[in-house]
């Protein structure tokens, strides 16, 4: 009588996850017929897998945190702002009208498809830190000073919405001035953030220059799709 083969747990997991080749699957299937323990081990692994699937079939709806701490990635903020300003300064300085790819350079698939036009900039703000609000407005002003026919939008969500709320913005006059001077500048508030705040009893009144998008992320996606340059502050 043949001794049952001792399959490792790694191998049985790979069988359950459909990661084995035909021959290896055949070996295990053949062994199951004469090895009840093997069948039970496989059954337990399969059950564990199904339980994990079942546990996250319905996850609770997303809850935005009102006390949202600044994300860790904001630590790199100063560097990213410097980089963005540097890139813009370079572009403005050279008054580039087209992006030329270096001969022989590896160009990615998306790089070709998502080649954004200069002159349409979407600035995304999700923080209420004054230096970040400043940076967003500084960028818009600097760009418009060089290219007055450019289209610029500042989209604000999460805590960044404070830039556009009457009771929280320190920059109402600056926003009004920008809009008065440049008809093609826009300020967009995230409808989801507004709904969340109103849901917990916050009275949200926006500065009059603001329009409202359904969600910030959808607005960003649409603008990227339309060829806008996207900058996260």
């Amino acid at each position: 009588m043949n001794q049952p083969r001792d399959f490792s747990d790694e191998r049985l997991n790979a069988f359950v996850d459909n990661q084995l080749g035909v021959q290896e699957c055949d070996e295990i299937l053949a062994a199951i017929a004469s090895d009840a323990d093997l069948g039970q081990r496989l059954c337990a692994l399969r059950s564990a897998k199904e339980l994990v699937r079942h546990a996250y079939g319905n996850v609770p709806p997303a809850r935005h945190r009102l006390d949202r701490r600044l994300p860790v990635w904001c630590g790199a903020l100063a560097a990213s702002i410097t980089l963005v300003v540097g890139v813009l300064a370079g572009w403005l300085g050279h008054q580039a009208t087209a992006t030329a790819e270096a001969p022989g350079a590896a160009t990615s698939w998306a790089g070709r498809v998502f080649a954004a036009e200069p002159g349409r900039i979407l600035i995304h703000l999700d923080s209420s830190r004054s230096e970040q609000m400043d940076a967003a407005l500084d960028l818009a002003e600097a760009y418009l000073a060089k290219a007055s026919d450019a289209r610029i939008e500042i989209i604000a969500n999460h805590r960044g919405l404070e830039l556009l709320r009457v009771d929280t913005t320190p920059y109402a006059a600056r926003i009004a001035g920008l809009k008065a001077q440049h008809a093609r500048v826009g300020f967009v508030a995230c409808g989801q953030t507004i709904a969340r705040l109103r849901g917990v009893g916050v009275d949200v009144e926006l500065v009059p220059e603001t329009t409202v998008a359904r969600t910030a992320i959808e607005h960003v996606a649409e603008r990227v799709q339309q060829g806008w340059t996207y900058l996260k502050i």
């Binding site: 790694e10 337990a44 998306a110 998502f114």
Partner: protein, 180 residues
């Protein structure tokens, strides 16, 4: 350069928008905090949209987004424990609270989520990427930037823990059975 309004491009942006729920679900399975999971999903989408030029193959969009989610998650954890490197983070024992009993009433679901929340981080990530997202071992290795052997060993330990916690009778019960 002229902006290309291709069908391929429109489809990709639609896919990115549609991926939010999947990113959120996986982030929730990692952290069991709806607010944090939403932040991580949102940050992943914004990072993804701003780095689309780095995506080299549209067919691998989801793996690429999940790799960004992993980086966001590591950044979040690093913010709390700066002295840990990636390997130590993966072995980090869970300090997550169990699922919210007010939200989750189904006993089985709650038990499984509690068991997953108790897994070390690296095991939790591997088992959820494979079981919830059906990624291959090679894809998970790429997403988490770890060797495929590590994926297999973490999965093995994760399933062994889940099996013990969820499918085997408690030790006291086993002992009773053995002395009958």
């Amino acid at each position: 350069m002229k902006w290309l309004q291709s069908r391929e491009q429109r489809e990709l942006v639609e896919q990115i928008k549609d991926s939010r729920l999947r990113l959120y679900r996986l982030a929730f399975a990692w952290c069991h905090d709806a607010g944090l999971a939403d932040d991580l999903a949102q940050e992943t989408l914004t990072r993804g949209l701003s780095r689309l030029d780095q995506l080299r193959d549209s067919a691998r969009l989801m793996g690429w987004l999940f790799a960004i989610l992993n980086r966001c998650w590591i950044d979040h954890l690093r913010g709390r424990r700066e002295d840990f490197d990636d390997e130590l983070l993966a072995e980090l024992p869970s300090d997550l609270p169990g699922p919210d009993s007010h939200v989750e009433r189904q006993e089985t679901v709650s038990r499984v989520r509690t068991a997953i929340a108790a897994l070390p981080l690296g095991q939790r990530q591997v088992v959820t990427l494979i079981d919830l997202e059906d990624f291959s071992y090679a894809e998970v290795a790429e997403i988490l930037a770890i060797p495929i052997g590590t994926v297999m060993s973490r999965l093995c330990r994760a399933r062994a823990s889940l099996k013990e916690l969820l499918l085997e009778p408690p030790v006291a019960q086993r002992h009773l059975r053995s002395v009958k």
